[in-house]
Symmetry: D2
């Protein structure tokens, strides 16, 4: 996401004085609520979905994730790289290749 888009998300919250509602817990609830709305696009079919609706709900997940990053003053590259390092260890290529099993079953 470029800086201009991130700034737009931040300005939206500031302009509405909504930081007061953005506790980490409320944002975590909001992320799961939007993620479930995204899933609703695939509730009865995995192939017959409304792409425009998918884009909107995925955008909502991303916006609330950015809100939580801002609230907790996190660095997105830092936390994602930290997690990818864990994932790379939990799912070594030689065991995980072509295999969708959870790491504790590999």
């Amino acid at each position: 996401m470029n800086q201009q888009t991130i700034d737009r998300i931040r300005k939206f919250t500031e302009d509405r004085d909504w930081d007061q509602f953005h506790s980490p817990e409320n944002l975590a609830k909001s992320i799961v609520i939007e993620a479930a709305e995204l899933l609703e696009c695939f509730q009865w079919s995995d192939s017959n979905y409304d792409l425009q609706h998918v884009k909107e709900e995925l955008a909502d997940v991303i916006v609330y994730s950015q809100n939580l990053i801002d609230k907790l003053k996190l660095d997105i590259d830092e936390i994602v790289n930290m997690k990818m390092e864990q994932n790379e260890k939990k799912y070594p290529v030689e065991k995980a290749k072509g295999n969708s099993q959870k790491y504790n079953c590999l």
Copy 2:
């Protein structure tokens, strides 16, 4: 997220030949599953949470969201700006300021 981090996410999937599991529906399920794990950090308290755990689960949400963006060949700035435009109209500053009510109750 910078290009290097995005490339690391993509390489992780490619190295494991996991694109075959990344149907949009499976990724939507994965996002909600990780979002619920993030929420679990706040299950019984809104203030007493494990920040390291929050970072890890939020990173998982972000990684699967990036996977879905890649799968559907979306432009993150385009979809977020499209949604922010909708949000700005649904929540006009003069009505929404300091108010957490849903747009259809404003």
Copy 3:
């Protein structure tokens, strides 16, 4: 669920003095957390699932739903019948038969 099972759920909470944690909001969070664990049984496949795991996670959803019913002093038959009446009107047989579309698209 028979009365003995319901009583066992209630006794479990009482014995541990957990009513203090069972705010309606915390129980709503708990239900979605367990529902996502249920969904995790189907994360990468709709057919290849661990039935024992499904039973356990579904039971967790049911137990927290019972906790919320107890907390709010609801009558399960009353709320389900009230909702079924709404559903029967929203999805008239002649329109909804063999059709998985949402009521606002019928």
Copy 4:
């Protein structure tokens, strides 16, 4: 839930020929979608919620849970008692009393 209410849920599905959509996976998605709608009642406040809305969304969770029980031909008392036995062992009264920590932290 009494037998009449359960029968009403089953008849609703049969009359609409919806069993074809009720794969275990689709029902698991549906449960988490409704659970998130229940959580939405508490998105920005733990105390200021619409009780009628809570009842409706909780009823939806219960109805889809019953659908999944029916689909998998499960016995609700059997699976709940099986899980309560696990819970009673994981959370012994002497350790868990008045304590909301997860079993692996007790």
